[in-house]
Symmetry: C2
Subunit: 250 residues, 2 copies
């Protein structure tokens, strides 16, 4: 597995908190690194950035390279349970356990200072990682997250293939279904462009509804004129880094 | 010809100055747009950014796609004079005349407020455009410019192919040879990484020497640890935009 890491200059003198970025469909560990413009702000605040890949690569599973929303580049941050995918596609364990353990063993990182954010499929990933691990992350945020992958055209194919067909299995990795049971009121920050070409499949309205019903703190900012691209991410990444810095440096 | 343009929000109310970016070998109009992180600062200062491509594409000239430093992606911002290249490869005219005229006819740009900068081959391009057109540009700067293309392994192949073999023809497009005859003392700003993998072919020492001999104002910043990549550009683009904003908004 490849990942990208940015070490801020503060590591010369101290351990620093880590902020994980989960990327969207079709991305590698490079998209965030090249396009998001986050390093400058991470350097200012003294945050380590860690950006994993979005799936295993070259696993040799039939059909893994045929769809943009299944297999390579589309791990959806779940642990697959079907025989076809379960040997390799365990991205949930990878981003919440295996990779953080590797980072802690190799880099000067604060053991108890982690936060997570992401874009699109990675926004979904960031939200479920936070919701499923109360107390683990100091903060969470998302750009254009897939808020309800079990009912979205973006998510259903991978959920069906990787998790089988039980609704309960899908619900364990779906923000809008996890949220009512959340035992921690970690505030959610999400930005969403209103010209996003995937808006109808991202379903921010479901996030708003479930947060309102559950009295879960949510700041959902609908950004006028913005699309789904990394230009959108770059335009607001400063705000997100500051959101995480406040929590991580408190 | 493709080009990229960024319009700052100030165009809603006024004409704005334009800052041209010339890219390096192998680049298209997209590298700067995606990787340089310049838009944020251009927006703050109210500058239009214009990034042309680095050569014609698909001209159909034998060998145009065979070398990274000749033909496609390697126009070197010269007007070719050899029969093989001269019909299409006229990038000097394109970036100093044809494209600015198009921009002025289509976008709300100040007619007399132009500046220019670039990277590597594009740093060379920015410097020669400024040196060859006294009074035309308000300011100029460069990242890791090819300072002496007529004696550099990066430039000699294209100069030979496109300009023939006369030393005088090469000198007309070579910063270190143009500079002693410069009729305008436009201050030069250049950043250069000291871990740049092309350092020996970029020859910033020749730029230093000729500026010292000619009493030409030069700020050459050797940046410790930086390579030739757009991460280097992104790390210092804020300073360059401010350099140009001071001149363009005076």
């Amino acid at each position: 597995m490849s990942f990208a890491i940015f070490l801020p200059p503060q590591v010369a003198n101290q351990k620093v908190p880590s902020l994980y970025w989960l990327s969207g469909l079709t991305c590698t560990a490079e998209n965030f690194t090249i396009k998001a413009e986050a390093q400058r702000y991470a350097a200012e605040h003294g945050l380590m950035l860690v950006a994993p890949d979005t799936s295993p690569r070259g696993a040799g599973i039939a059909g893994e390279d045929e769809s943009f929303n299944l297999g390579t580049g589309a791990g959806f941050y779940v642990n697959a349970t079907t025989p076809k995918w379960s040997a390799h596609y365990r991205m949930y364990d990878y981003v919440t356990q295996e990779l953080p353990e590797l980072i802690k063993s190799q880099f000067p990182v604060q053991a108890d200072g982690e936060a997570i954010f992401g874009h699109s499929m990675g926004g979904h990933g960031a939200l479920i990682c936070a919701l499923k691990n109360p107390g683990r992350y100091r903060s969470v945020s998302a750009f254009a997250p897939i808020c309800a992958p079990s009912v979205s055209g973006l998510g259903k194919k991978a959920f069906h293939e990787c998790l089988g067909d039980g609704p309960a299995a899908w619900a364990r990795y779906d923000t809008h279904q996890l949220l009512p049971g959340a035992s921690e009121r970690l505030p959610l920050l999400a930005d969403q462009g209103d010209h996003d070409e995937f808006l109808s499949e991202l379903m921010p309205d479901k996030l708003s509804e479930v947060c309102a019903e559950s009295h879960h703190p949510l700041t959902l900012r609908m950004q006028a004129g913005y699309d789904h691209s990394y230009y959108f991410v770059a335009s607001f990444v400063k705000d997100h880094i500051e959101h995480h810095a406040v929590a991580l440096l408190a």
